[in-house]
């Protein structure tokens, strides 16, 4: 066990854990931030996506010790008191069905739009290809991200 200092959603935490433990498990089981999901266990599905210094990162692959000096944003920290623009676009655009992939997709979309404020449909499809959704066929997710981008332009 090691004391690891974490900055998550603007709050500082000191957790006594094995530094090799995946960030995902520490967020979910030590900090109670269960918006970060557990699904494929192999870094493919993106349900565990968080932002590490603003970059979409699969938290099942990251040992918690590696993020000690970074800023971690989880789904619980992305919207402030209300919904972020991406979250609102997902709600309005019927982007979610079972919803289990949604936190990861919302965070990937934030990262995508931060890097590329005016993405094409193809850029959005490529940008979320690290997030698996089993329900939707992705059409309404792509549309919602486009809507969020358009709203920022206005």
């Amino acid at each position: 066990m090691t004391d690891v200092q974490l900055t998550v959603n603007g709050n500082e935490h000191t957790v006594a854990v094995d530094a090799h433990r995946p960030l995902r498990d520490v967020l979910r089981q030590e900090l109670g931030l269960t918006g970060t999901k557990e699904s494929c266990d192999s870094g493919v599905c993106g349900a565990c996506t968080v932002l590490v210094d603003g970059d979409a990162t699969k938290s099942c692959l990251v040992p918690v010790g590696k993020v000690a000096d970074t800023t971690v944003t989880t789904i619980e920290g992305v919207g402030g008191d209300g919904l972020s623009d991406v979250q609102q676009a997902f709600v309005d655009g019927f982007a979610s069905q079972c919803g289990y992939c949604m936190p990861g997709l919302v965070l990937s979309a934030h990262d995508l739009l931060a890097d590329n404020p005016e993405p094409t449909v193809e850029e959005i499809r490529a940008g979320i290809s690290g997030n698996v959704c089993r329900c939707t066929g992705y059409v309404k997710i792509v549309d919602a991200i486009m809507d969020a981008a358009d709203a920022r332009e206005r």
């Binding site: 498990d25 999901k37 699904s39 599905c45 619980e76 069905q97 079972c98 290809s129 690290g130 992705y138």
Partner: protein, 784 residues
């Protein structure tokens, strides 16, 4: 007809200034959407109650073996291990539907790689994982059988259940009889016949026969199978990711000999189900170990165990022989589906028995024989997957329509149109088809595609290694008979609470319930609270959303309850209206209203006044009523027609197939929530494309070789077409609630056949086996 491309086209009610009380036909925002995008929605997987223990399954590493010894001593001694359960700690009876063939843990024999042998519960997941490795299992391997044809023979290389004919049968289940008993791995055989088959084939000018192969695939729900169980003596509470909690309750009570009222099953948000969470899977295993401690125990399958220890979609082989006249009239059909059961009957008994009644909705055929066989194999068990075997059989049937049309030199769309059943026609079961636009549905997708100009529309696919094809297929989803009960409460404030036994597993059923109840009370959707899937708070429902039955059964039961509540409210309010006839009174927005005078009496005045409420329905401050609906007159409550057209690009060098555009048309009855209808059609189409082109569980002697998301090709955003359009027809149904039908499974019926037709159009290959992987496509292409 409405063709929808963007949700915003259908959410116009709000923007047009239409009243917010327009409950149906409006894309009301899903009531779960905000919770899901913020991470507030708590799934069973997110439950770590105080003092929780983490459980892991120990599973068989042999496809077929005598179980010589299971030694748990070393695991029990490991620091942090609290309890271990094996067959010795579990009921010695079997469970299962129709034919009870399965124990909680393997006993005597193992029948597939992945079969639960033991479960360990420990302080952490890591300790539990380590403990599973310390359970020493000794096997005496037996010959195994995994090939469907070999398993179904009279003299198979292995017999999976030597004593299957002695197993208990329940709920009308039966063992095979007659000559079928000579095939020892046959779990069930179902047959139905209408018309004079022999005469019809004799009258036919042409007879065409083919076999089609549909390979197994996994549901890949993003949330795995997971349950938390807490046992306190005979009181047991489950939280589980499940579709039919009332089935879990009844079967657990029966299996563990508990009073049913002591078993409570709660369903938090569920991260997808698709038919894979209809039977008890993790629940009996976690209870076996939870009974040994007073702490809650959480058992989640690992992603690999989803492939090995949870039900998957079965392998099927479907043989079809059609007799047709020179003019293209379909006269006779003989269809046989062999379906792999796997080591135990999860739901293949029921699937095999539903195939003969459910493959007839599309075409007018005078004589049809339909047979289905469920065959045990030493594979992980197979079960229901969004369509209950029928989209798979429809792939074969629709491919065969194309084959026959090609052999006769007919246009395949016109060949279908010539033989299509329409509203008012009787099918081979004697069922009369309800009002529906079958013919328009059949033609709409191809009409929407219009003229395709590859150079202009798809410049990326104009290179010489690419060739583009167009395909089309039809389907018809039969929604089976059934029954359910709901409870509806109305409070003095006018707020309503609908209690429904079937949980929302992601399809949006809670939103649809709120819309239907709001409609029945002419009030705002926001006034309706929905409690779903908690066995302690809902009435019995043994079908859940399975078989696309949620909307018709729950919807109609709610209408029955709402009508009774409205009648009671009018009766109670009548004295306040003087001479008014209670039958003339209506309810609107929390009041009883006389439409002739406009006079209103708020519910609060009759339910919350100083005088006692003279009603047998009044309890705990609300009027509460049970609503029951059943439909048993015919095998199916209605049929839902669907058609698709696809444009694909095929790479002649690699065999890669890309779907460039797909159009789905369906007649769904009244679209209660048009955007939610689109969600189901688009999502179902995407899932079906995965099964048509990419996904296949690969086994080596019963061992899953690709049981991870790295190796099993669950489609990503770049694998599925963005250009997925839906065309919705809304023929008001005569039996569905508010004229609505079902939409959850229908999109999957034609997809694989439509894509196969497009690949055939592009490359001239027959495509009789799914999935159409690059290897299969290239092999066939190089052979031609």
């Amino acid at each position: 007809m409405t063709a929808n491309r963007r949700v915003n086209d259908t959410t116009s009610a709000e923007h047009d200034g239409a009243p917010a009380r327009e409950q149906l036909g409006r894309s009301h925002t899903r009531t779960d959407a905000a919770d899901k995008v913020t991470g507030e929605a708590a799934y069973t997987m997110d439950m770590y109650p105080e003092d929780v223990l983490h459980a892991r399954l120990v599973t068989s590493t042999e496809p077929h073996a005598r179980l010589r010894d299971v030694d748990t001593a070393a695991a029990e001694e490991l620091d942090g291990v609290v309890a271990v359960a094996t067959a010795a700690d579990a009921p010695d009876t079997r469970f299962g539907e129709f034919v009870r063939d399965q124990r909680v843990f393997a006993s005597g024999k193992v029948r597939y790689v992945g079969e639960p042998i033991a479960v360990v519960a420990a302080e952490t997941e890591a300790i539990a994982e380590r403990a599973t490795e310390l359970v020493a299992v000794e096997y005496d391997p037996l010959p195994s059988v995994t090939d469907l044809e070999a398993a179904g023979a009279r003299d198979p290389p292995a017999v999976v259940h030597e004593h299957v004919r002695e197993y208990e049968t329940v709920d009308g289940g039966a063992h095979v009889e007659g000559a079928a008993r000579e095939r020892p791995n046959l779990l069930t055989t179902a047959i139905a016949e209408s018309g004079d088959l022999e005469a019809a084939f004799s009258a036919a000018d042409h007879v065409f026969e083919r076999e089609y192969t549909i390979n197994p695939l996994q549901h890949c729900t993003m949330e795995p199978h997971v349950a938390v169980a807490r046992a306190d003596g005979d009181d047991v509470t489950f939280w589980t990711s499940h579709q039919i909690p009332h089935v879990v309750k009844e079967e657990i009570a029966d299996l563990f000999e508990l009073p049913p009222e002591n078993v409570v099953v709660k369903t938090p948000f569920a991260g997808g189900a698709f038919g894979g969470k209809e039977r008890p899977v993790v629940e009996p295993r976690v209870l076996a170990v939870a009974r040994q401690t007073d702490r809650p125990v959480r058992l989640a399958l690992t992603r690999h165990q989803q492939y090995t220890s949870a039900p998957s979609r079965p392998e099927l082989r479907v043989r079809i022989k059609d007799g047709v006249s020179e003019e293209g009239d379909l006269l006779a059909r003989d269809l046989t589906a062999d379906i792999s059961v796997g080591g135990y009957n999860e739901e293949v008994y029921n699937i095999a028995n539903s195939v003969p009644t459910s493959v007839l909705g599309s075409y007018d055929v005078a004589a049809v024989r339909r047979r289905a066989n469920g065959v045990y194999t030493n594979r992980p068990p197979y079960g229901a997957f969004r369509g209950f075997g029928l989209p798979e059989v429809n792939f074969a049937a629709e491919r065969h329509m194309d084959r026959v049309a090609a052999e006769l030199g007919l246009d395949p769309l016109e060949y279908r149109a010539q033989n299509l059943l329409e509203a008012g026609d009787q099918n081979a079961l004697g069922e009369t088809l309800h009002p529906c636009e079958n013919r328009a549905v059949l033609r709409a997708p191809i009409e929407r595609l219009g003229e395709v100009d590859v150079e202009a529309d798809y410049p990326d696919y104009c290179g010489e290694e690419w060739t583009v094809g167009i395909g089309h297929a039809y389907g018809n989803k039969a929604v089976p008979q059934g029954e359910t009960e709901v409870r509806l409460d109305v409070a003095p404030s006018g707020d309503l609470t609908a209690r429904v036994g079937a949980p929302d597993v992601g399809q949006g059923s809670n939103t649809v319930v709120a819309q239907m109840v709001a409609k029945a009370f002419d009030t705002a959707v926001e006034r309706v609270d929905v409690v779903a899937g908690d066995t302690d708070k809902t009435e019995r429902d043994f079908q859940g959303p399975s078989g696309s039955r949620f909307t018709p059964y729950t919807g109609n039961a709610l209408r029955v309850a709402a009508a009774r509540l409205r009648e009671e409210l009018a009766r109670l309010a009548a004295p306040r209206f003087g001479e008014s006839d209670p039958d003339a009174l209506q309810v609107a927005d929390g009041s009883v209203v006389d439409p002739r005078t406009g006079k209103e009496v708020p519910f609060a005045d009759i339910l919350d006044g100083e005088r006692a409420v003279e009603s047998e329905l009044f309890e705990d401050g609300v009027l509460s009523v049970l609503g029951r609906y059943e439909y048993h007159e015919e095998d199916h409550i209605y049929w839902v027609p669907v058609a698709q057209a696809a444009i694909v690009a095929c790479n002649t060098l690699t065999g890669e197939v890309n779907v460039l555009r797909i159009v789905t048309a369906a007649d769904v009855g009244t679209a209660i929530n048009p955007a939610a209808v689109e969600q189901q059609l688009e999502g179902g189409t995407g899932q079906a494309i995965g099964g048509a082109l990419y996904e296949e569980i690969v086994y080596d002697d019963g061992r899953v070789r690709n049981g991870t998301f790295k190796d099993y090709a669950v489609p990503k955003s770049t694998d599925l077409p963005y250009d997925s359009e839906t065309v919705v027809f809304e023929s008001v149904d005569t039996e569905g609630p508010f004229g609505a039908k079902s939409v959850g499974e229908v999109a999957l019926f034609p997809t694989a056949a439509a894509i196969a037709d497009a690949v055939e159009d592009a490359l001239g290959i027959e495509c009789t086996e799914l999935p159409m992987t690059p290897e299969r496509v290239l092999d066939q292409h190089l052979d031609t």
